[in-house]
């Protein structure tokens, strides 16, 4: 398909010493150009592994098979060097914990410079101008350029991560639970920022979360993962309003809604298993 920027076909992730133990079981997912696709699921459902597979950042103890086609090229066939050229430039990623993903002993300005420097050779003053421009875009005052990560709040740190991620104008941005560690108000700001950046730079976003509220706010398409499989996918409107799979229904039932009318129903895995078989 021409308007798919990324096509994941029959992706399997398994451990090196036991290839029968599949952590991600044969999933296929297409990302439409310029759209935001959310992967939702509980911890352990394989959503982060899927994201890491796309970035080719899986732990050395894990292996994968299948194909991941990014703009017509199968990422699994590329050499390490070729992957490195795309990683950060064409495909960038934001992680959940901004504090653990930033280097505590380097200023944020230096770290953003570094992110640009990997892919672009700019002379010193142009580099600095670019960093300041990026800080402006993500809403951090430029006089914070020499601050260290611990001098920033959680929300600001995540903004720095976003600045690094968009520094080389990636075509695909992968965000792995970028707002889970943040307060609701800050979360709303970051979601708004990501959404406006997506529109401004016509990026495609792969957004990983366990919160259906966030899905509702940001996604165009959604894929629900359960025990390493995609059990349901489709447009947000369809999946949220009219869930077909018993797991999607069960998961939706445990999300507290803002009206507080619905009673929270924890997932009963025994009932679910019956419904699925």
């Amino acid at each position: 398909m021409k308007n798919n920027i990324l096509e994941i076909n029959n992706l399997k992730v398994f451990t090196n010493n036991n290839s029968r133990l599949k952590l991600v079981k044969n999933i296929s997912l297409n990302l439409k150009k310029g759209k935001t696709t959310c992967i939702v699921g509980e911890s352990g459902s394989g959503k982060s592994l899927t994201a890491l597979s796309v970035m080719q950042l899986l732990s050395s103890q894990l292996n994968m098979s299948g194909s991941i086609i990014f703009e017509g090229v199968n990422l699994l066939n590329l050499t390490k060097e070729e992957i490195r050229k795309r990683r950060g430039k064409d495909i960038a990623m934001i992680f959940q914990e901004p504090m653990t993903s930033l280097n505590p002993v380097l200023t944020i300005g230096y770290q953003i410079e570094e992110a640009i420097g990997v892919h672009e050779k700019l002379i010193k003053f142009k580099l600095k101008a670019r960093v300041e421009e990026l800080l402006n875009i993500v809403g951090i005052p430029t006089d914070r350029i020499n601050s260290y990560p611990d001098e920033l709040s959680g929300g600001q740190r995540q903004r720095v991560m976003i600045a690094m991620a968009i520094s080389c104008s990636p075509k695909l941005l992968i965000a792995d639970e970028p707002t889970t560690a943040l307060d609701v108000t800050v979360q709303a700001q970051i979601l708004n920022l990501l959404h406006s950046l997506k529109l401004k730079y016509q990026m495609t976003m792969l957004f990983i979360t366990h919160d259906f509220g966030v899905v509702n706010d940001i996604a165009d398409d959604v894929a629900v993962m359960f025990q390493g499989e995609i059990v349901e996918q489709g447009s947000v409107a369809n999946v949220l309003k009219n869930p077909k799979h018993p797991y999607t229904k069960a998961l939706l039932n445990c999300v507290p809604d803002s009206q507080g009318k619905k009673d929270l129903k924890p997932i009963d895995y025994a009932v679910l298993k019956k419904a699925m078989s």
Binding site: S43, V184, T185, D211, D217, P256, D257, Q259
Partner: protein, 268 residues
């Protein structure tokens, strides 16, 4: 509903002072609590909401004197919490228990669950070893764990199970007031739902009063009867949950309500 007041806190103030600089010392202070008064009625759930840094955790800790306040009074069951000491303070603390946010950090990794559960009983000298065990067993079953779990260490449990252990440890002393400091923020939605339902059913069974600290207004709606909204150490708004959600008076509360996930204006 009985409207007896269990805890009354009046005009609580707490300032954190930070000194910076080596030669020319400058003092900056942050008002973590700025003249806060709250009443906790018996048998209800009072939620305290606010962003990080709003002083909500300081408020919780000050009530059991884990943080000493600068000014104000705290009356719990007709006892002035600020002047009691020694045995009397210990007895009162038995009556106010706390459940913490991070179930990974609040359980000692070198203690088996049985030991974690025994400790509070021993500290407060409750029962002999035989009836302590049966007490622990029945509590652990109430929170959805099994007898075999007592021999395990905290790392052998998932986040949700650890939070269940934290709840069991808090409730084994049969407290009247339980302070829950973001007990579900670190958990997945599905596990979050389990823990909230568990807390609700335990409240019914034991007639507990909860002070529930959270930044997630969706959970407030599900669990709380009354809400206190805090910002920068100040009390912004308080009242019945329904009323706060339907007719928020202050701009800040409206802002908080607008940032609930799922409530952001649809942009497509």
């Amino acid at each position: 509903m009985q409207m007896e007041i269990l805890l009354e806190a009046k005009n609580l103030s707490k300032e954190y002072v930070k000194t910076t600089g080596f030669f020319s010392r400058t003092r900056t202070s942050i008002k973590a609590l700025d003249n806060i008064s709250i009443n906790i009625k018996k048998g209800i759930t009072l939620a305290v909401v606010g962003e990080s840094g709003s002083g909500k955790s300081t408020l919780a800790k000050s009530l059991i004197r884990l943080v000493e306040i600068d000014k104000g009074s705290i009356i719990f069951k007709e006892k002035n919490m600020r002047i009691i000491n020694g045995a009397e303070l210990k007895l009162t603390r038995k009556n106010i228990q706390m459940i913490f946010q991070d179930p990974y950090a609040s359980l000692n990794p070198r203690m088996k669950i049985i030991k974690i559960m025994e400790e509070p009983l021993q500290i407060h000298g409750i029962g002999n070893s035989a009836n302590q065990y049966s007490k622990i067993l029945s509590m652990i079953k109430k929170v959805g764990l099994v007898e075999g779990d007592l021999k395990k260490y905290p790392h052998q449990f998932s986040g949700g199970q650890r939070q269940r252990i934290g709840i069991a440890r808090a409730l084994i002393l049969e407290p009247e007031l339980v302070i829950c400091d973001e007990p579900v923020s670190a958990l997945d939605v599905s596990v979050q739902a389990q823990i909230i339902q568990l807390l609700k059913s335990l409240q019914k069974e034991f007639g507990l009063t909860y002070l529930f600290i959270t930044h997630d207004l969706r959970i407030v709606r599900h669990i709380a009867d009354e809400v206190v909204v805090m910002k920068d150490g100040k009390l912004i708004e308080q009242g019945k949950t329904d009323i706060i959600f339907r007719k928020p008076k202050t701009k800040y509360t409206k802002e908080l309500l607008a940032s609930i996930p799922g409530n952001l204006s649809k942009r497509k």
